[in-house]
């Protein structure tokens, strides 16, 4: 079965550079979530989208932005990268209302960002 696909899987950037992470949800899933997990930390919710509109916002820095496109994939754009942005970034997807009732979120493998 198709899962959530994230790219790239690994990314190395210098301070003050820009990075873009991509997330392709499970087919027919219309809701996407982004989480950031620092080393030894729990995942922190960044932002979510439902039907291409932002549905909730968590601890996402102002230097970061995200959007969901017409094909439901999402991109997380990170600018002016800092050392502290080094983390594993997870994307998850669910199926709108049906997903909300069943409580099912499906996580991708994550994108590991290293800022040097």
């Amino acid at each position: 079965a198709a899962g959530v696909i994230q790219s790239p899987r690994h990314l190395i950037k210098e301070k003050r550079e820009t990075a873009t992470l991509k997330c392709y949800p499970i087919p027919r899933h219309d809701t996407v979530y982004w989480y950031q997990q620092g080393p030894g930390q729990d995942p922190q919710f960044l932002i979510s989208f439902y039907e291409k509109m932002q549905s909730d916002k968590g601890s996402i820095p102002d230097r970061f932005s995200a959007q969901q496109f017409s094909d439901y994939h999402s991109e997380l754009n990170m600018s002016s990268l800092e050392l502290g942005d080094s983390a594993l970034y997870f994307c998850a997807s669910s199926l709108g209302l049906a997903g909300a009732r069943t409580g099912e979120l499906f996580f991708g493998e994550g994108s590991r960002l290293t800022v040097l």
Binding site: Q41, D42, P43, S55, A100, R101, G103, L105, F107, E109
Partner: protein, 114 residues
């Protein structure tokens, strides 16, 4: 603000022993999740608990939910080395607003020793 507290944060067990991980949360919620994470890997869904009194079991793991006490437990029976991982509980916001995002506990790093 929804807060999720998990304990213990670190757990070292002998194989064959039983233990329970606890997850408390601060506000009313409809959904509680348990995830397993191996180092550097993604989050593997273990259980989704949607109602008060829900109990689910899979192999040596059993999860329960008490929404009145805002408490979930993950019970490990006769631990084996393969269970070594970090276990997260996560609490979801209400269902009605079509928002599925959740808040995670700090995780319990479980090590099962021979």
């Amino acid at each position: 603000e929804l807060k999720v507290e998990q304990n213990p944060l670190f757990l070292s067990m002998q194989e064959g022993k039983n233990y329970t991980i606890y997850c408390n949360y601060s506000t009313t919620s409809d959904r509680l999740y348990w995830y397993r994470q191996d180092p550097g890997k993604s989050l593997e869904s273990l259980f989704v608990l949607l109602s008060n009194g829900a109990v689910k079991q899979e192999g040596r793991l059993m999860a329960s939910l008490d929404t009145k006490a805002r408490l979930s437990t993950l019970h490990i029976t006769a631990a084996v080395h393969d269970l070594s991982a970090t276990y997260f509980c996560a609490v979801g916001k209400t269902l009605w607003n079509n928002n599925n995002d959740m808040r995670f506990g700090a995780g319990t790093r479980l090590t099962v020793k021979p």
